[in-house]
């Protein structure tokens, strides 16, 4: 036993803690991440990938069926649907990621603070959160848009506001669980400060459910944003946006289904990808591997 040199102690920081694949959520998570990365690449590279300009109107190709040069067909103004879908991911992914990050930036500290401090602080913060939750989500978004006027950024903000209480609640409840663990009480008894406990024990162990929630909320954000745009409250024409495209295509569903189907598929794929990541993370955040 003493034959082992002291050098063996102190290496943990460098030892790989877990295989990356498991950390990202196993097979499902990996599939989700792959799709998301492809979509992000698509959004960034849209100007290169898109065969046509998303806003170029072609009077000869109004509601034209898919062809070799226009694989997804053309819409009511003769714009190329494929190009529009590729560009639309910029808005959709931007809003999905942006709204959730914003919600996390606000909700996470609230949740950690309420859950860790507990008592009256927790009670008051949570009642405020409840107040926010008691408004129907869409109503909240619509009233904000009524004040600030429609647009992609306002949609992002509106969705973030809807998400803050959800985030805060999820974080708080997992912080409550972690706070009750013996290792937190032990760390306290061994002199660790509140800050180092929150940083070292509480956050790493409580963040899992929040990240799972985040990926699911991103999927929802795409749907909500599409819905807002569909209602004319989100992004405004002629911005290529999936919800907006759905709203347009709705009128020509029988004559030109491609105008409707491809943006719809676009939404479905991105929602699926975020949900796959969520499911994968859910499993990987179980350090004891119980659900595996």
């Amino acid at each position: 036993m003493t034959a082992h040199p002291v050098a063996e102690v102190g290496k943990a920081a460098r030892a790989p803690r877990r295989r990356l694949r498991t950390r990202l959520g196993g097979r499902e998570g990996l599939a989700g991440w792959t799709i998301v990365f492809i979509l992000i690449a698509v959004a960034i590279l849209a100007p290169i990938l898109a065969p046509h300009s998303p806003e170029a109107i072609d009077g000869n190709r109004i509601l034209a069926a898919p062809t070799a040069t226009h694989p997804f067909g053309s819409d009511d103004l003769g714009r190329d649907v494929l190009s529009r879908v590729l560009y639309a991911y910029r808005v959709s992914l931007g809003i999905a990621v942006g709204s959730v990050l914003l919600a996390m930036a606000v909700g996470l500290p609230i949740g950690v603070f309420a859950g860790y401090v507990g008592g009256w602080t927790d009670l008051i913060l949570m009642r405020l959160i409840d107040l926010l939750l008691s408004f129907p989500a869409l109503l909240l978004a619509i009233s904000l848009i009524a004040i600030l006027g429609p647009g992609s950024l306002v949609a992002l903000l509106a969705i973030a506001i809807i998400y803050v209480p959800i985030m805060a609640r999820v974080v708080r409840s997992s912080v409550l669980v972690v706070r009750g663990q013996a290792y937190v009480r032990g760390a306290r008894a061994r002199g660790a400060s509140h800050l180092s406990i929150v940083r070292g024990h509480v956050l790493p162990n409580a963040i899992g459910p929040a990240l799972v929630q985040a990926s699911v909320l991103m999927a929802f954000a795409i749907v909500i944003e599409a819905a807002l745009s569909f209602l004319g409250l989100g992004s405004q024409p002629p911005t290529p946006e999936l919800g907006l495209m759905l709203a347009d295509g709705n009128n020509y569903l029988t004559q030109a289904p491609w105008v409707e189907i491809f943006p719809g598929l676009g939404i479905a794929i991105s929602v699926l990808a975020f949900n796959l990541i969520g499911d994968g993370l859910r499993r990987s955040f179980d350090p004891n591997g119980i659900t595996r």
């Binding site: 290792y183 760390a187 008894a189 180092s196 070292g200 790493p204």
Partner: protein
């Protein structure tokens, strides 16, 4: 000095830990408006000397764990005094309190939940050293290795995650972390009850060894009386927030004075078919600590209770050096023995 245990060293007149009249109540809410409180600990006096093992026994709801939490500073007492090495902990300065925390360390029941599942075990053992900024980084690393040797963990385990360890090994890690700051008192709440028999034996041996090598005092909270009998110097028996009997372990197990202690000892299932449990059973169950019974809290279940027990709270009676119990019946029997002896001795002199 009324208390004196066999391990007390003569010059050591100030107990390491002294608990006086400790009370801990938890407020409870019933519905929106109703309220009350759980009387978890109701006036407990306790002393532990350096290097001594004192076991706190009792059934669930007896308040033994709450008492342990108060002693380690994880819970603030409602009333009463805790003195460590003669100093009142509640009155201590910020630094004094930090010092107290360093010198008293807890060990928990379930080793799985007492280790952060995401931390390699060496990080867990190192955490207190980092928190108190003990020595240089290299010295801390060396100390971690030393602690791992001390508790019998192979050094190559250092980077492992808790889930890669068996229950016994996990408990060794928890003990190593508790020992990191060289405490003088360990408060171990059921440290072996989640472990299998053969693993339990290892941990009990380890605790015994540590106590001999480091002159560590141990407040051992347990419900398993055969473990208690094996490890302790003194035993304190708790029932519904009160210590009903306290004394040297041999005395408590061979000639308990309090009927509750007797019932607990009689209920031990011995791993010896020739030594059957006594036929006498305690009836009923431990009452709610929200509404403890009047008088002696044990009277509704007591096989020898008399009228007085339901109205008047018994005081501690000393039966022997360091052995006392709070029971009217036992006290009366003692008084009778005393009067017989005095009658006899009077008879002898006249």
């Amino acid at each position: 000095m009324t208390e004196q245990s066999r391990t007390v060293i003569e010059q050591d007149s100030v107990p390491l830990l002294e608990v006086e009249g400790l009370v801990k109540r938890f407020p409870i809410r019933r519905g929106l408006f109703g309220s009350g409180s759980v009387h978890a600990v109701e006036g407990v006096d306790l002393q532990i000397h350096a290097g001594e093992v004192l076991s706190l026994v009792g059934e669930s709801g007896s308040g033994k764990s709450t008492l342990g939490m108060c002693v380690t500073g994880m819970s603030t007492p409602t009333a009463g005094r805790i003195r460590f090495a003669g100093e009142d902990v509640a009155l201590a300065s910020r630094r004094g309190r930090a010092d107290f925390r360093r010198r008293v360390q807890p060990v928990f029941q379930d080793p799985r939940s007492s280790l952060d599942p995401r931390w390699p075990i060496e990080t867990t053992i190192r955490e207190p050293l980092d928190a108190y900024r003990v020595g240089s980084s290299a010295e801390r690393t060396a100390r971690v290795a030393e602690l791992m040797d001390l508790v019998g963990l192979p050094r190559h385990f250092a980077p492992r995650q808790p889930r890669e360890l068996s229950g016994g090994q996990q408990q060794r890690v928890a003990i190593a972390a508790a020992l990191a700051l060289r405490p003088e008192l360990l408060v171990a709440d059921e440290p072996v009850s989640a472990l299998d028999v053969s693993v339990q034996a290892q941990i009990l041996n380890l605790l015994d060894e540590l106590r001999n090598r480091l002159k560590l005092a141990l407040l051992f909270i347990a419900h398993d009386l055969s473990v208690v009998e094996h490890l302790s110097d003194r035993v304190a028996v708790m029932y519904l927030g009160r210590i009903v009997e306290t004394g040297p372990v041999e005395r408590i197990f061979s000639a308990p004075e309090h009927p509750y202690t007797r019932a607990l000892i009689d209920a031990i299932p011995h791993a010896d078919p020739g030594r059957k449990m006594s036929r006498i059973r305690l009836t009923g169950e431990i009452p709610s600590p929200v509404n403890p019974p009047s008088g002696c809290r044990f009277h509704p279940r007591c096989p020898v209770a008399v009228d007085r027990c339901s109205t008047e709270e018994p005081q501690d009676t000393q039966f022997d050096e360091g052995h006392s119990a709070a029971c009217h019946v036992a006290a009366a029997a003692l008084a009778q023995r005393g009067s017989i002896i005095s009658v006899l001795s009077e008879g002898a002199t006249s």
